[in-house]
């Protein structure tokens, strides 16, 4: 909201320069977002918070300055004149529902001379960004900016039947507003109507048919209070915004509505001649006063600073309240009607602190008493993230919302329905994601486009699905790998083609770090299921050629994994128990052989373990190879068997026959060919 320095000076003696005033206003809660010098005047642009409609006016800001600087306002005190009955031009005003319009006033002024405004008026309006129209319209705008009360002037002779009816619009009723647009109305919109038709959208914008033009002679000046919610809904529905609606939806005040009508009339009579021909009001003309008690001890308890009760009284008085002592420590405060925001003692404490100065309140450190009931999984998530970073992966964060088509593109099947957004601004906000993988693929494809040879990323985030009649939200970990990992060794550059086994290795390292003892990877149709504690907790897959081409990924495979974190956390065991180190050395025997491709190494290892027990301590795959020396359809393997006993050193004589039976069994059962 804009105000000018010179306009403020109409109401208050300003002894400080504009820059300093801007600082003071900012520190009292009227943040001055810009201060510009223009044509010898200064324009303050103030960000007014939504609880203070009274600040949306020159008078409101001047009042605040009065409280900050301890000065009184200069306000004229005009009184309503009594008119002789023969001078009154009768009009008929009705309000259908007082809830929609608690107060309505119409003032008739006849024989006005519509002309351009005075230069002073024009200049003041233009500095606030308001275009000059003619003296009557300009005066209504001038009073709006000065008092905060929106007014509207009708051409009285164009009001059919000299009637005003405040009512809801009928279905499909139409009006052309002063901006030339035709608007379709309905029962949720409040209108001002004459005998036949709407002549204004109440509180939002006037109609073209009854606007004041150069040919207008008699006017009806409207000043009213409308239901804020109704105005808000109406302008949202119509997609309109106006200075008037902005103020009405924040709440107009009765006393301003009465005063503004009078002030505008005075200006019109002064500058556009004319004569008063009647004033009619409907609704309440006075509000019951509201009283709040404030204990100075309460203020101190909230603020952590004792402010003398005399100072409290003085601050609240300077803000327009009537303040009296109830007891030595308790004040009783009568709230002025323009301060609808003051409802509770705490609101008054804020007012006192604001004017007293937040800067005057000390800084203290409380004794924080932690609540030991609170448990969370954040430390576990941190541990997962740090482990993955240690394994070389980079964390990404992608949007929780995405376009529906992204998931179709990825080809990743999710059985449950998508959770849709009611009011997306664009297609990329259509649905809540059912998987993190689609976003990770997109992110990976983007990085490949930036000439990355190797992309290894992960994300921890929530996925969403419709389960029955509820939205299920669950945290998952997702990993995506792609490309060739090149790294230096002492022997030179190694180029490592990323595979599903790299992904498996990462997950194994993570599970071991988290103390997950029972994990397994099981081949399913198109994916590998990750099984934790005998339950499927996630899956790994390589992206289908179709999906790869959908994301424009060429000549590369993409490996993905997603794991449900709730299930993972259920299997985490961070307790560790020390196992004593072996006291006797083991004997290691390697078996190198070739074997048919389709033999599963899991079965092979299991057979070795069964046969080698109890002397066999461990059997593991030490090396594998495929290539020139290996016939096609076969793979070469080296399995290392470690024999060891806890109580004594084993001898070659004990091991050799056992190891030989292991080898024979493998030949027999799996047809291995020793090399």
């Amino acid at each position: 909201m804009k105000v000018t320095y010179s306009w403020l000076k109409d109401f208050i003696d300003l002894k400080i320069p504009p820059q300093e005033l801007a600082k003071k206003l900012t520190m009292a809660g009227l943040e001055v977002v810009s201060l510009e010098e223009s044509a010898g005047d200064f324009v303050f642009d103030i960000e007014v918070t939504s609880n203070r409609p009274d600040w949306l006016s020159v008078l409101g800001v001047a009042g605040e300055i009065g409280a900050i600087c301890g000065r009184k306002l200069k306000t004229a005190n005009t009184k309503e004149q009594k008119l002789k009955s023969k001078k009154i031009l009768p009009i008929e005003i009705s309000v259908m529902d007082k809830k929609d319009c608690p107060f309505y006033s119409g003032r008739v002024i006849c024989d006005v001379k519509v002309a351009p405004s005075s230069n002073m008026l024009k200049r003041r309006l233009e500095l606030l960004g308001c275009r000059s129209v003619n003296n009557i319209v300009d005066i209504t705008n001038y009073v709006l900016f000065e008092s905060g009360q929106p007014l509207h002037a009708f051409d009285l002779d164009k009001l059919e039947g000299r009637q005003i009816c405040v009512r809801r619009a009928k279905p499909n009723e139409k009006i052309i507003t002063i901006d030339g647009q035709e608007r379709s109305l309905g029962p949720e919109i409040l209108v001002i109507a004459d005998k036949d038709k709407p002549v204004a959208i109440a509180g939002i914008m006037g109609g073209r048919a009854t606007e004041v033009t150069s040919r207008t002679r008699n006017i009806l000046l409207e000043s009213a209070v409308f239901n804020p919610t109704l105005i808000r809904r109406g302008r949202q529905k119509l997609g309109m915004q106006s200075e008037s609606a902005y103020r009405f939806e924040r709440g107009a005040c009765l006393s301003s509505a009465i005063n503004a009508s009078l002030a505008a009339a005075e200006l019109i009579l002064k500058s556009a001649s004319g004569r008063p021909c009647g004033y009619k009001t409907l609704g309440r003309s006075r509000l019951a006063s509201r009283l709040i008690n404030l204990d100075s001890a309460y203020a101190e308890r909230v603020l952590g600073k004792e402010i003398p009760i005399i100072r409290i009284k003085q601050i609240l008085s300077s803000l327009g309240c009537q303040v009296k002592f109830k007891t030595k420590n308790v004040l009783v405060i009568e709230i002025p009607d323009f301060r609808q925001d003051l409802k509770l003692p705490i609101d008054l404490v804020e007012e006192v602190a604001r004017i007293y100065g937040y800067e005057e309140i000390p800084r203290t450190i409380p004794a924080v008493r932690p609540n030991d009931e609170i448990l969370n999984t954040r430390d576990l998530v941190c541990s997962i993230k740090n482990t993955l970073c240690g394994l070389g992966l980079h964390e990404v964060i992608t949007y929780g919302l995405a376009e529906r088509s992204l998931f179709a593109k990825s080809g990743i099947k999710k059985d449950t329905g998508l959770v849709e957004i009611l009011n997306p601004l664009s297609c990329e906000q259509e649905v809540l994601r059912p998987t993190l993988l689609a976003s990770l693929i997109r992110c990976l494809a983007y990085n490949l486009d930036q000439q990355q040879e190797y992309v290894n990323i992960f994300e921890v985030g929530n996925i969403f699905s419709n389960i029955g009649n509820t939205v299920q939200e669950e945290p998952v970990l997702a990993i995506a790998l792609c490309g060739v990992h090149s790294f230096l060794t002492k022997q030179g550059l190694i180029k490592d083609d990323i595979s599903l086994l790299h992904l498996k290795g990462i997950l194994e390292a993570l599970f071991i770090k988290l103390g997950v003892n029972d994990f397994d990877f099981r081949q399913d149709d198109n994916q590998i299921n990750i099984v934790l504690g005998q339950k499927q907790a996630g899956f790994m897959l390589d992206l289908t050629p179709q999906a790869l081409s959908n994301f424009n990924i060429k000549n590369r495979q993409v490996f993905l994994a997603e794991i449900n974190l709730k299930q993972l956390f259920a299997c985490v065991d961070l307790n560790r128990k020390f196992l004593s180190l072996p006291r006797y050395p083991g004997i290691s025997r390697d078996i190198s052989f070739i074997i048919k491709q389709d033999v599963a190494v899991k079965d092979l290892l299991m057979t070795i373990e069964e046969q080698g027990a109890p002397l066999l301590h461990l059997a593991r795959i030490k090396d594998y190879y495929q290539g020139k020396q290996i016939p096609s359809g076969f793979k070469g393997l080296t399995i290392s068997c470690v024999y060891r006993l806890k109580e004594r050193t084993l001898t070659d004589e004990e091991i050799n026959p056992l190891h030989n039976t292991v080898c024979s069994l493998l030949q027999e059962r799996f047809g291995i060919k020793l090399r």
Binding site: M27, A28, G29, E31, S50, N51, R232, R233, R250, V302, L303, G304, K305, L344, I346, D347, E350, A353, R354, Y358, E359, I361, P362, R363, T364, I365, P366, V368, R369, P370, N371, I374, N376, R378, C382, K385, N386, C389, G390, G392, L393, H394, E395, Y399, L401, V419, I421, L422, N423, Q429, L432, C443, Y446, N447, V455, I457, G461, V471, E473, K490
Partner: protein, 337 residues
């Protein structure tokens, strides 16, 4: 002549040998034709006859020891030569190590902030991103149809009329207070959503951190103290702070917190919009109506709450000028943090 002294001298000389050349010099000095040992042997005939035998044996023993020491030294030197030839390293060559991954910069800022508050005794609590209208608005004293809601434009879900995507982390205040009795010191990091058109400073998803402290005796001065401690921890001890009155429906009194611009140090620059101040936080004393909604007695308990945008803090700290970079996830960007 004292044999022991000579032995010491020989050992000292041997220790100083670093090359074959040194070793040859040492050999000549002691074992050469005019060397010390030859001199000693030559002196034997001048000794009294009863000492000659013993002295001769000592000289001989010394000679043998010396020969052996020289031989060992020679071996050592040879081995050293061959090692340093094979293992010659140009230290200008790249070091060899596995590349580490990085945490996302947003995660790093969240961790840093949570750590600061954890040290003060705050616990981390998280809440769901799909929220009820009550927790996001009504429970926080935000009327459903009021201009104060304009600041919280919100995504709603189709098919669920009362569900939405939380537009701030404050609903976790309602959740945590309903679940636990005071004292309560909580910090809440998380994603939030608002229907905003995307540009260099706006996104439809971003991160917030909410914090609140409730006990029987919490004051506005405590709020000031705790937030000052926090801001100095994260932005440096030399920053200035100011608390400006503001309006939030769920706090009263409310304050916006500015720090002196960390770019221009308060002189005014493009980052702070020539103001010299950067707004970093919204805060205030928890509104009595919020306490009523969660079943706390506002006469018995008091508390403060604050909230901040993580992206904004990350952008200020790292000098990032486009918020979209955070979610583009370009590895060249991520690897900088």
């Amino acid at each position: 002549m004292d044999i022991n002294l000579i032995q010491e001298k020989i050992e000292h000389d041997l220790a100083g040998v670093v090359s074959g050349q040194d070793l040859e010099g040492l050999r000549l000095k002691y074992l050469g034709r005019k060397g010390l040992l030859a001199e000693l042997t030559g002196a034997i005939p001048d000794l009294p006859i009863e000492q000659r035998g013993a002295f001769g044996r000592e000289v001989n023993a010394l000679k043998n020891r010396l020969l052996k020491a020289i031989e060992e030294k020679e071996k050592g030197l040879k081995a050293q030569d061959s090692i340093s030839e094979e293992h010659h390293i140009d230290i200008g060559m790249p070091g060899i190590a596995q590349e580490m991954g990085r945490l996302h910069p947003i995660t790093q800022i969240i961790d840093e902030i949570c750590t600061i508050f954890s040290r003060m005794g705050f616990s981390v609590v998280e809440g769901p991103e799909v929220e009820t209208e009550f927790n996001n608005f009504t429970g926080l004293n935000i009327p459903l149809e009021h201009p104060s809601r304009d600041a919280f434009d919100t995504f709603y879900l189709k098919k669920y009329s009362k569900l939405l995507l939380r537009s701030h982390t404050s609903p976790v205040q309602v959740r945590a207070m309903k679940a636990h009795k005071p004292p309560l010191a909580v910090i809440v990091p998380g994603r939030v959503y608002r229907p905003d058109a995307v540009d260099a400073s706006h996104l439809f998803m971003f991160h917030q951190i909410e914090g609140f402290l409730v006990d029987t005796n919490i004051t506005f001065s405590d709020l000031k103290g705790v937030l000052e401690l926090f801001a100095k921890n994260i932005f440096g001890q030399d920053i200035k702070m100011r608390f400006r009155p503001h309006f939030f429906p769920f706090t009263e009194p409310s304050a916006e917190v500015d720090i002196s611009c960390i770019i221009c140090r308060g002189k005014g620059c493009s980052v702070c919009g020539r103001k010299g101040w950067l707004e970093i936080l919204g805060s205030g004393m928890i509104h009595p109506n919020v306490f009523k909604h969660v079943g706390y007695d506002p006469k018995k308990y008091a508390g403060f709450a604050f909230g901040m945008g993580v992206e904004r803090i990350a952008m200020l700290k790292y000098g990032i000028n486009d918020i979209r970079l955070f979610f583009e996830n370009d590895l060249r960007f991520l690897k900088q943090f």
